[in-house]
């Protein structure tokens, strides 16, 4: 195995593209190192992106936030402006692992690891986040939900690296939230995760919403029907029930030791309601 630490995206992309054996990007390493140590993968080349300056910063731009691919969960939690604009995204990222894991783990790694239960991904999908991908043929930008295509699989092509995650600018009266259910209070994998982002008008009526579910299908889901159930409402009991029903209906879960299908379907609805209420409060509604 070789270890490379290039300082430009171009060089990193070329190293990956040229490699004949198996090559992996290294960000925080909290997934990659576990897979390496357990013999699950045997890389010929590891390309550490942490020396590439643009992957290390959180920038507030005219169109929102640009979060470098190597920014750790701990760094996200310390950025007051980001936390204020996107509390749900930051809380989701900060749920990943322990304080030790937070010191390294990135949202981009969480996304590219492509676990159906990745905690930050439903929050990013609800937030309508995009990723900037750098590759041998230049850069392209795609919605976050198009990155994972199945458990452990992404749509990234050979030589492609995610440079940053883009979060859009928030209209007034907007809020987001992420909730997960785990049997413990910390250090566990989501049985169900729900991200909700919404915008209210001056009267408190939901004018825009996105709802996303984790751990209930092979990839994180965007559920337009669940958003539709609350748009045009003040999140009264009827709207919340419709939201829960739409969220449950979208689930295609598996049975495993963490939860049965029926349980996941039910909990997805319950969490969707709760997350929507939190997002509403954060948007200044009640």
């Amino acid at each position: 195995m070789r270890y490379e630490r290039p300082t430009t995206l171009q060089a990193a992309s070329q190293l990956l593209a040229k490699e004949k054996g198996s090559a992996y990007v290294l960000a925080g390493g909290t997934d990659l190192l576990v897979r390496l140590r357990t013999g699950f993968i045997e890389p010929d080349l590891i390309v550490d992106i942490k020396r590439i300056a643009s992957t290390r910063t959180i920038a507030k731009t005219a169109t929102g936030f640009k979060i470098g691919a190597a920014v750790s969960g701990a760094e996200l939690g310390e950025n007051a402006a980001l936390k204020k604009a996107w509390p749900g995204v930051v809380e989701a990222a900060n749920l990943i692992g322990s304080k030790q894991v937070q010191g390294r783990a990135t949202m981009t790694g969480n996304l590219c690891n492509a676990s159906p239960a990745a905690d930050s991904v439903p929050a990013l999908v609800a937030a309508a986040a995009k990723v900037v991908i750098a590759g041998p043929k230049g850069k392209r930008t795609i919605p976050v939900e198009q990155v994972p295509v199945g458990p452990g699989k992404t749509s990234l092509k050979k030589g492609e690296i995610i440079e940053a995650i883009l979060l859009p600018k928030r209209p007034a009266r907007s809020g987001d939230a992420y909730l997960r259910f785990i049997p413990r209070t910390e250090m566990d994998i989501a049985v169900v995760g729900v991200g909700v982002s919404l915008t209210l008008d001056a009267k408190g009526i939901v004018t825009a919403a996105r709802v996303s579910l984790g751990a209930v299908a092979p990839t994180v889901l965007l559920v337009p029907a669940a958003a539709k159930a609350i748009i045009g409402t003040k999140l009264d009991a009827k709207a919340l029930d419709a939201l829960a029903a739409a969220a449950s209906a979208a689930c295609k879960p598996i049975d495993d030791k963490r939860g049965t299908k029926d349980y996941r379907i039910k909990v997805a609805g319950v969490l969707a309601k709760r997350a929507a209420k939190i997002a509403q409060q954060r948007a200044g509604g009640k």
């Binding site: 195995m1 070789r2 270890y3 630490r5 290294l26 925080g28 390493g29 909290t30 190192l33 576990v34 390496l36 140590r37 357990t38 590891i46 550490d48 942490k50 750790s72 701990a74 692992g97 322990s98 304080k99 030790q100 894991v101 937070q102 010191g103 390294r104 209070t185 910390e186 250090m187």
Partner: protein, 158 residues
């Protein structure tokens, strides 16, 4: 396999080592540098026995490659006491009998110090959450939590 040369600072001392690309920082500390304070409990990031700080941030050294450390500042348990003088956390761990076999202790001390550096007045809940990445098979955690709370109180008085 090609060996990689790495220059770091460990507990304030400039340190150079050579390692293989697939060696973890934990391997380097224990097997190459003789710093055996960090323990290997799981090597999958779950137990926290290998906790160190890298550029001031708490991390599991089993989840980091030795090769990644060029230019980094590493803090290990060996740097916690000043000479013979124990850190207040170390003293309180002894006083409260917050250890039995001791395998988890270096990790708990590093994690607890990192907490107190950022939050000198944690609540019990904050202490428990901050130490959730450290597992102990012996003590049942209560004595550890009490030792950390007591240290925080004493350091605030000092």
């Amino acid at each position: 396999m090609s060996s990689i040369k790495v220059s770091t600072t460990i507990n304030g001392d400039p340190t150079e080592y050579v390692c293989e690309a697939d060696e973890t920082l934990l391997d380097v500390l224990r097997n190459r540098l003789g710093l055996t304070g960090a323990k290997e409990g799981c090597s999958t990031g779950d137990c926290g026995a290998c906790s160190v700080t890298i550029d001031g941030r708490l991390t599991c050294s089993c989840l980091v490659l030795g090769a990644e450390m060029d230019g980094a500042e590493i803090g290990t348990i060996e740097g916690m006491a000043s000479g013979e003088k124990l850190h207040p956390l170390q003293k309180k761990f002894i006083e409260h009998a917050a250890l039995q076999c001791g395998i988890c202790t270096p990790g708990f001390l590093i994690a607890a110090k990192s907490l107190l550096d950022h939050n000198p007045k944690p609540t019990e809940t904050e202490v428990r959450f901050a130490l959730a990445g450290n597992l102990c098979r012996c003590t049942g955690y209560d004595k550890i939590v009490r030792a950390v709370m007591d240290t925080a109180a004493e350091m605030r008085r000092a």
